[in-house]
C-alpha cells in the first residue's frame, strides 16, 4: 500500500468572480492515503469550497485565482483531470445526503447506473442495507430517511473511490441518525481516504485522525483545547421550601392530527436550570411554546402557583412578563429590519411601560449585561455575528425582567466556541439575577455542564427525570441511554 498522499492542495486561492474577499486563500493541504482528515471551522470559513476543489468543482460564481489541486496524480482543474477524478477516483456527499437521490427515478435504477463493475447487492451490503427486491423498485420518497441516506452513501462508494469527501454529514440530524453515520464512517476508514468537513466537534473527535482548522479561507493553528468549565449551579438552592417558578400538569398538545405532547407533568424550582432533552420530534419545542402560550394545549400551566390562560393573548401582562422564550435560530429571532435599539425598546414600552429617558438608560444597561458595546444599539441584525445576535435575543428577553427563561436550542446554530460563550453568559445571568432557566437542547455535554436537573422526552412524554449527575451516570430509559451513548465516547 503506497504511502503517497492521495491528494495535495498547493497554495489554492478561490474567490468570487467579480472580485472581493477570497473564499479560500493560499491553502496548503496534504491528504494522506488512509484515514480521516477533518476540515473544521465556522460557517463561511471556506471548508466546502476547499472540499469541492478536490473534485475540481467550483460553485457558480467562484473562480480559481491561483494554486493547484492534484488528486491521485491528476490535476483537478483541467477538464480531462476533473472528468477522470469524477469517473470514480473521488466521491462527494453533501450535507443532506438523501437529497442527492433523483426523486423521479427508482432506487434500483440509480444504483444500477452507478454500480459499474460491482453488483447492486454488493453496494447495499457495504452500507449494511438488508433489503428485499421490492426496495429497489421504490422511489426515494418512499423509504425512510436513514435508508435514503445509506443508499446515497452506496452511490458515492460505488466505484471504489480512493478519496471520499463528506460535507457536514451530520448537520441537522437527530442523535440516532448521527450515530448511524458515525458508525458508517468508522467502517469505511480502512477502505478509502476521507476528507470530512464538519463543525460537529463530537463527530470530529470520534473519527478524525488529523484536524485542519480553517478561518476566513486560511489555515490556522488548531484552536486551543476547550476549557473544561466548572459546574455552574444556581446559587438559590432550596433552603426552606423550594418555590416552584413554573409548572405544567397534564399538558397535552397536538400538531394537526398527531399528538406532540402527551400529558406532561413538570415543575421547575425557582433558580434552578432544568434541561429538556430528547431526539428530534420528541416535542421539546412544542412544549416550550405551550408554556409560553404560543401553542394551544389542554391541561394546566402555572406560574408561581397561579394557573394561567392557555393563549398568551389571554394572559395578563404580568404573567406574560414572567416567562420569556429565547428562540432557536438567532437569525429568525430578530427582525432584520429593526435596529437593536427598537427591538429592545418594544418590550420595555409594552410590558414595562418605560418611556424616555428611562428606556434608553435601560437599553444601555441591558447591552452591558450581555457584554455588547453600547454602539451596537444602532445596528441591524445583518451586521451582527451569530453569537452577537443570540446575545441581543437574550437581552430582549431580559428586558422585561422575567422570572423564567425558556431557551430553545439557543446554540445549535452556532459553532461550539461561540455557543459555549453564550451558555456561559446565561449561567452568569442566572447567578446574578436569580433566573430560572429551562434549557432545551440535544447536546448532552451542555446538559452536563449547565443543568441541575434533566427531563428526557420521547414522543411527547417524559420518560426520565432527575438530577443531572444521576441520570447521566446511570440512564434508565432506552432513549436516555441512546442519547448518552451517542454523545459520549
Amino acid at each position: 500500500m503506497s504511502t503517497e498522499p492521495v491528494a495535495r492542495v498547493s497554495d489554492l486561492t478561490i474567490g468570487p468572480v467579480g472580485g472581493g474577499a477570497a473564499t479560500v486563500s493560499g491553502l496548503n493541504l496534504t491528504v494522506p492515503n488512509r484515514g480521516v482528515l477533518a476540515l473544521v471551522g465556522r460557517s463561511g470559513s471556506g471548508k466546502t469550497t476547499a472540499a469541492l476543489s478536490l473534485l475540481g468543482h467550483l460553485r457558480p460564481g467562484l473562480v480559481r485565482r491561483g494554486g493547484a489541486v492534484h488528486v491521485a496524480g491528476q490535476d483537478a482543474f483541467t477538464p480531462g483531470g476533473a472528468a477522470a477524478l469524477r469517473a470514480g477516483t473521488v466521491a462527494y456527499l453533501p450535507q443532506d445526503a438523501a437529497a442527492t437521490l433523483n426523486p423521479s427515478r427508482r432506487l434500483g435504477t440509480q444504483l444500477a447506473e452507478a454500480a459499474g463493475p460491482r453488483s447492486v447487492a454488493e453496494l447495499l451490503d457495504a452500507v449494511h442495507l438488508n433489503v428485499d427486491r421490492g426496495f429497489l423498485r421504490r422511489y426515494p420518497h418512499q423509504v425512510s430517511g436513514g435508508q435514503a441516506q445509506r443508499v446515497a452513501f452506496a452511490l458515492a462508494l460505488a466505484r471504489d473511490p480512493r478519496l471520499l469527501v463528506l460535507d457536514e454529514p451530520t448537520a441537522g440530524l437527530d442523535a440516532v441518525l448521527v450515530r448511524g453515520i458515525r458508525d458508517l464512517i468508522a467502517e469505511l476508514l480502512g477502505r478509502t481516504a476521507t476528507v470530512l468537513v464538519s463543525h460537529d466537534p463530537e463527530l470530529v473527535s470520534a473519527v478524525a485522525d488529523e484536524v485542519v482548522v480553517l478561518e476566513a479561507g486560511r489555515r490556522v493553528e488548531a484552536a486551543p483545547p476547550r476549557r473544561v468549565l466548572s459546574r455552574t449551579r444556581g446559587a438559590r438552592r432550596a433552603t426552606v421550601s423550594p418555590e416552584i417558578a413554573l409548572s405544567a400538569s397534564g399538558l397535552t398538545a397536538r400538531h394537526g392530527r398527531t399528538t406532540a405532547v402527551a400529558g406532561i407533568d413538570l415543575s421547575v424550582i425557582s433558580g434552578e436550570c432544568l434541561a429538556l432533552v430528547g431526539p428530534s420530534g420528541s416535542g421539546k419545542s412544542t412544549l416550550a411554546r405551550c408554556l409560553v402560550g404560543l401553542h394551544p394545549y389542554r391541561g394546566e400551566v402555572a406560574l408561581r402557583g397561579t394557573v394561567v390562560a392557555g393563549a398568551a393573548a389571554r394572559r395578563t401582562a404580568e404573567q406574560r412578563r414572567q416567562v420569556q422564550l429565547v428562540a432557536q435560530h438567532s437569525v429568525g429571532a430578530l427582525n432584520p429590519r429593526e435596529t437593536v435599539d427598537t427591538a429592545l425598546r418594544r418590550p420595555l414600552r409594552h410590558l414595562r411601560g418605560l418611556a424616555e429617558p428611562a428606556a434608553s438608560a435601560e437599553i444601555a444597561r441591558l447591552l452591558d449585561r450581555v457584554r455588547l458595546p453600547s454602539g451596537y444599539a444602532r445596528r441591524r441584525p445583518g451586521r451582527l455575528s451569530g453569537g452577537e445576535r443570540q446575545r441581543v435575543n437574550l437581552a430582549r428577553a431580559l428586558a422585561v425582567r422575567p422570572d423564567v427563561l425558556l431557551c430553545d436550542e439557543v446554540t445549535s446554530a452556532l459553532d461550539a466556541h461561540t455557543g459555549d460563550a453564550v451558555l456561559d453568559l446565561l449561567a452568569e445571568l442566572r447567578h446574578d439575577l436569580g433566573l430560572t432557566v429551562v434549557l432545551i437542547t440535544h447536546d448532552l455535554a451542555t446538559v452536563a455542564r449547565h443543568a441541575d436537573s434533566v427531563a428526557v422526552l420521547d414522543a411527547g412524554r417524559v420518560v426520565e427525570y432527575g438530577p443531572v449527575d444521576a441520570v447521566l451516570a446511570a440512564p434508565d430509559h432506552v432513549v436516555t441511554r441512546a442519547l448518552v451513548g451517542a454523545a459520549g465516547t
Binding site: A83, G88, A91, P94, L101, N102, P103, Y139, H141
Partner: protein, 317 residues
C-alpha cells in the same frame, strides 16, 4: 387515496368552479337588464313597446330566476338566441370553435417545441451569454401586446412584402383550412407571444432542476452533457412541462380574441368581440361560458396528466 378518487375530486372541483363562474358571467352581463329590451326595440320605440318586449323575453323576472333558466338550459346544450340576427348561440359556437381550435393547435405546434428548446438552452447555460440573450428576447417579446405583434407582422409580411393576405377573407360557409394562406399570420401572431411566455416558464423550471442537489451530485459522479439532461434533468421536468403547456393553452384563448379580431378571422374570439360591441348579451354569455369551460377542461386534463406522470405525486396520494 386511489387515483380514481383523486380524479373524481378534481373533476368535482372543476364543475363547482364552472357553476360559480356561470353565475358571475350572468351577473356581470345582466347588470343593466332593462337595456336589452331597449336595444332590441330600437331607439324610437315607446316605453310600452319596450315593456311588452321585456315581458316577452322574460326579462322582468328576477335575476336569480333568469339565471337558473339560462343555466339549466345551458347545461342541456341550449345557449339561447342572440339579439343580433337571431342566431342560435350554440350553432355559432359549433361553427366557429373548430376554426379557433385550428388556430390554437397550429400556434402550439410551432410554439411548444421552440419554447422547450429555447427554455432548455437558456436554463442549462444559466447566467451566461446564451441565457441572457434568450431571456431578454423573450422578455421583450412577451411584453409587447399581441395586437402590436400582429400589426407588425401584417405591416411587414402582408402590406410590405405582400406574401400573405392582410385579412382572413374566408368565404361564408367555407373553412380556413381550404385557404391555408389566411392561417399563417394569425397563427404566427399567436405563436410569438405564447412562445415567449412559455420559454420563460421552461427556463425557470430548468434552472430550478439544474441547481438541485441530485443534479450536482450526478455531475460530480461524472455524468455530463446529454446523458445528464436526459436521464437526470428531464424526468423531473415532466410536471413543470405539463404545467407550461396548459398555461400556454389557457393563454391562447385570450390571445385568440385579439388576433381573430385584427384579422377578421371567423373564430369564437371574433364572434365574442363582435357580440360585446353589439351588446348581444345572450351571445356574450354563451360564448364566455364556452371559453371558461374549455379553459377548465384544459387545466383539469393538465392536472391529471401531471399526477399520472409524476412518481412523487402518485406516491403521496
Amino acid at each position: 387515496m386511489s387515483l380514481v378518487l383523486l380524479i373524481a375530486r378534481r373533476v368535482a372541483g372543476a364543475v363547482s368552479i364552472l357553476v360559480v363562474l356561470s353565475a358571475l358571467i350572468f351577473a356581470a352581463t345582466e347588470v343593466l337588464p332593462g337595456d336589452a329590451a331597449g336595444v332590441l326595440a330600437g331607439g324610437e320605440s315607446s316605453q310600452a313597446d319596450r315593456d311588452r318586449l321585456r315581458q316577452d323575453l322574460g326579462l322582468d323576472a328576477g335575476l336569480a330566476h333568469r339565471y337558473l333558466t339560462w343555466a339549466t338550459a345551458a347545461a342541456h346544450g341550449d345557449l339561447g338566441t342572440g339579439y343580433v340576427g337571431h342566431r342560435d348561440v350554440a350553432a355559432v359556437l359549433a361553427d366557429r370553435l373548430p376554426n379557433s381550435l385550428l388556430l390554437a393547435v397550429l400556434a402550439m405546434a410551432v410554439a411548444v417545441p421552440a419554447a422547450v428548446a429555447a427554455g432548455l438552452a437558456a436554463g442549462l447555460r444559466g447566467g451566461r451569454r446564451t441565457d441572457r440573450m434568450i431571456s431578454t428576447a423573450t422578455l421583450m417579446a412577451a411584453a409587447v401586446p399581441e395586437f402590436l405583434v400582429a400589426a407588425v407582422l401584417v405591416a411587414v409580411f402582408a402590406t410590405g412584402l405582400g406574401l400573405v393576405p392582410e385579412v382572413s377573407l374566408v368565404p361564408l360557409g367555407s373553412r380556413p383550412w381550404r385557404a391555408p394562406a389566411v392561417l399563417v399570420l394569425p397563427a404566427a401572431a399567436l405563436a410569438v407571444t405564447a412562445l415567449a411566455v412559455a420559454a420563460r416558464l421552461v427556463r425557470a423550471s430548468v434552472v430550478d432542476i439544474a441547481s438541485a442537489p441530485y443534479v450536482e451530485a450526478a455531475r460530480l459522479r461524472g455524468v455530463t452533457g446529454t446523458r445528464l439532461a436526459l436521464r437526470h434533468v428531464l424526468p423531473n421536468a415532466v410536471g413543470p412541462a405539463v404545467q407550461v403547456v396548459t398555461v400556454m393553452f389557457a393563454g391562447l384563448i385570450g390571445g385568440a380574441v385579439v388576433v381573430e379580431t385584427l384579422f377578421n378571422y371567423p373564430g369564437v374570439g371574433y364572434e365574442l368581440q363582435q357580440a360585446v360591441a353589439n351588446r348581444d348579451v345572450p351571445m356574450v354569455q354563451g360564448l364566455a361560458l364556452a371559453m371558461c369551460t374549455t379553459t377548465l377542461v384544459v387545466l383539469l386534463l393538465g392536472d391529471i396528466v401531471h399526477v399520472l406522470l409524476s412518481p412523487v405525486l402518485r406516491g403521496r396520494s
